[in-house]
Symmetry: C2
Subunit: 149 residues, 2 copies
Amino acid sequence: MHAIEEILRKKKIKVTPQRMAVYSILKQSKFHPNVEMIYQKLKPDFPAMSLATVYKTMDVLKKVGLIQELNVGEGGLRYDAQIRPHSHIYCKNCGKVVDVDHFPLEELQDSLLEKVKEETGFNILFVQLYFFGTCPECNDKKELLEASS
Amino acid sequence: MHAIEEILRKKKIKVTPQRMAVYSILKQSKFHPNVEMIYQKLKPDFPAMSLATVYKTMDVLKKVGLIQELNVGEGGLRYDAQIRPHSHIYCKNCGKVVDVDHFPLEELQDSLLEKVKEETGFNILFVQLYFFGTCPECNDKKELLEASS
DNA sequence: ATTTCTGCAAATGCTTTGCATTGCA
DNA sequence: TGCAATGCAAAGCATTTGCAGAAAT
């Protein structure tokens, strides 16, 4: 039995093929898909599946803490099955979202959270750090275009 | 003449009372309003004003670099006339967005951006850092409720 | 058998668009 | 006067909701 099944059962949430499939896609993919991307990936295996089910599943997985939601300001949201605190970088050109694994978000939280708490008086629950720019692939394409003109 | 008028004229963008009023509200308010809040604030002075005009104005001000857009994952977006890099803290309870002025976002960019560039190969344009939690006012209210129960 | 989930369609909420009218330059 | 901006209403997306039938426990 997978960890996810145990977690769901413990909370009396039913284990369905759709939920397993959504989570499995998130676990496998590195590019942090949005709801529509997940829906399209599931279509071959679940032709009758509804977009609403994907939305509801994201909600369930988020609430039990199995995934995190990313907001890169696109309109739709992106999802990540890696829940350890880490930051993300977004390509404004192709929309790709990549993990920034070695950026010290955990250390940042440990060392500086107290400072921010003091300044603001807030009780801080979590932190999100986004980098915005253009990815190597898009930069290369642009160079090629410029060279040929 | 205010700086904003000069900047708009330089870009051949017309200076209208609506645009001035929207920017003035943003300059004055500390709580980082969304479009609806700005619209409501403007209604007494501009009874005929349309929500669409506020949206279009935010777009113009953003494009000329006079304001920045904040995305705290609420649905709607928040706006900030302070464009110097700084981070924000969001109260999940009352929705307030507060500046974190002394958090070293500029230093963070200077010292660690190179590291992230190396790891990801991205060309980085800007960074956004959000803290999420509960504000002092909401925390106090909660304590009162608990004490009285 | 009970309860929750799924799939569908309709509804909602934020934002954008098209276009005639208005107003800045 | 000419071109851009405003205001209005309709359209567009992402997301949510309500509910009958289906599936999990």
